[in-house]
């Protein structure tokens, strides 16, 4: 089990990287608008032409 003397410090390096990434994300405003990002996936960036027959499936959200 002496491998932990190598693996745990390695994990700690990863931890530092993760914390740094999180700080960067928070400081660059990525957590500012959580409501909107949650529903971004619902919208198609390319809107279908008004008369197109093949419309995307209906995701009517519940009121």
């Amino acid at each position: 089990m002496d491998i932990i003397f190598l693996l745990i410090p390695l994990a700690l390096v990863l931890l530092v990287v993760a914390v740094a990434a999180f700080f960067w994300a928070v400081r660059s405003d990525q957590f500012d608008d959580l409501d909107r990002e949650a529903s971004r996936i619902l919208f198609d960036e390319d809107s279908p032409p008004p008369s197109a027959g093949a419309r995307p499936p209906k995701h009517e959200p519940k009121p």
């Binding site: 745990i8 928070v26 909107r36 949650a38 529903s39």
Partner: protein, 801 residues
Amino acid sequence: MADESCFHCGLPVTPEGNYPVTILGQARPMCCPGCQSVAQTIVDIGMESYYQHRQQCPPGSSPAADLVPDFLDSLNSWDDPGLQENFVHSLPQGSKEITLLISGITCAACVWLLEKHLRDQAGIAQCHINMSSNLALVSWDPEQTSLSTIIKAIAHVGYKAEPYTPVQQEAIIKRENKQALLRIGVAGLGAMQVMTYAVSLYMGAFEGIEPAHQQFLRWVSALVTTPVFFYAGLPFLQGAMRSLRNRHLSMDVPVAIALTFAYFSSVWATISNGPEVYFDSVCMFVFFLLVGRYLELRARHRSQSTSIRLSHSQLQTARKLDHEDSPLLVPADKLVPGDRVLVKAGEIIPGDGHILQGTGSVNESMLTGEQLPISKQVGDPVTGGTLNVEQPITVEISTLPGESTLSTLKRLLQRAEAEKPATFVLADRIASKFVLAVLITSICVYTYWWFHAPEDAFWIMLSVLVVTCPCALSLATPTAITAATARLSQMGFLATRAHTIEGLRHITDVVFDKTGTLTLGEFQLAETVPMPGEHSDTLLALAAALEQISEHPIARAFHGFKAHPDVKGRQIAANQGVEGQLAERTLRIGKPAYATPAGVTATPPAPCGQWIALADQVRILGWFRVEDQLRADADTLVQHLQASGKRCHVLSGDSSGHAEEVASLLGVDAVVGNATPQDKLIYIRTLQDNGAKVLMLGDGLNDAPVLAGADVSIAVAGASDLAQVAADGILLSQSLQPLQGILQLVEKTYGIIRQNLAWALLYNLIALPMAAAGFIPPWASALGMSASSLLVVLNALRLNR
């Protein structure tokens, strides 16, 4: 039938006014040309799927109704460089940037629609809309487009945008939010790491572990826990220090003591090879508590920023006249005494002064509560912030903006706010007793074991502190309050202060402002009495045709009716009425003295009420009675409040006797008419001195100091900016009905809080003796802590059902 409501805004569609638009392959009914034009624009730009994704209709009073040429023209003034100077930033590459506050955003579909629409406009470089704050950051190339074009483009899809300057409070909110997230991140990541080491250590405790490995794992845990304790746990340590300095035991004290003992004893155990380390408990404890507090913080921030948004006062502009009498748009706060300004009909007078030119009528309801305009002649003083109703006037400004009546009112408001009675918080009271009990018990336990087994004494005392984890206890109230705040905002009520919910629980007296709160604050036609030989429908059509051109509150009562097409040559007589021609006849509508031809005596059909006469040059044709109607649900609300043992009062600034009439109609306990803001404040103070806890509902600027002085205050929908700032909560819907549900929910919330506290105390009562006897191993105490906290959170979430 789905056909009955407007597909765009959800308002009912009248049979004669249907304006269909083909959306998603089907003809959909629209209620008005405004909605039709917006919906058509949305279809034309290929974003029909907005209608599939949206979760809510845009608000009923859709800005679409403003899509008249006048409104669009008025936007052109935004291109004036003098006005832009305060809002627009120039970017290095020559483009410009502005923050716009957008009203009408209800769901993510709105944001998507707006962003796509704006990005498709020529000359817009960037556009980002924040859905939680309703703010849009737009940058554009001034060579290709202009600010007014951008605001118009937003109006075309049915939203209203206005330039926005962020308030300092918002910067604080943003900073707090980020700070809290960073702490949670550190605590969470740290807790995950330390947990894995802790599992190894527990396994080792059962199955044997090499001392070198154990020591190594402990040192690594200490390393990871250190930033969690000192950085993420800092708010608890600071809070405890603060509360000790103030000689008041808050929940932070046992949290901080437990954390400090657990951390330092674990560090000591690591150095001296002691029996047990609690690093995992420290991290989990910090993490759980931070998450609980973050949820509470977010709920509070959300309602705070909504109220900031609501009370964001629009930039007030003034048309300053230069030497050649040509108007120039300037911000109102740049006016100095001696400036002459032109105020058009329907505009707000930008500052205190007197009339130089023109006669007109001014609505001073924001000062007095009186809805009817007051006639003003040349030389008469006018007050900044009041509304010029009918004709353009020229005003000479006489005071600096900082010394105006409006600023004085604002100062009165601040003073009232500073003297607001403090609300006692239930959880704090229980917490400080509990904290004291835990501290005394720990000391007793330590003393006992010090005599019986000195080497175990410290560890057992520590396990007492950890196992009586105040986690559940400190989460009991905030989680319930958070859930209640969220539920209340769904019900259309924003609690904007931390103590609002607590305060509502103790209310004994409810004080209503009359105009705009109990009544709608707008006149409605109550009765039509035609003279013999006349038909009431024809009279109404004539009246509507005449009153069309007037913005007088009484005239507005006729605006909804179908107007007679043949009335020509209409003219307003300030604060008197309107004159017009129908073929050979001269028609007059308005005050009886004005409308009736000379030589005819005017006697209204009934002695009481407000009667308007319609006449031609020979005789009176008919009478109309208008009144400021009660909100539909006012009487059920008053009955409900009285049934639950609360006294109801009505305060009113107007002197017409309508207040007494309304009061007797509703059967309230007390009524005061003709009251100034100062009188109202004194009235509330007197109630409070007699031991009452007062809930005040109001809307006007004149109510603001009273709102600030009451124990709890609520501003109703459409209240003035200042009233919303002064209030502890804001009713979002047009009806008073939610108040009933709000008070019930508050009761229920306190039921939940009591259950939570009872559970937390019970848990502690069971766990404490066992820990004191030395029976509880660390893993069991961690489990107990998590389970009890989870139960408290789940219980609080029941409020959201």
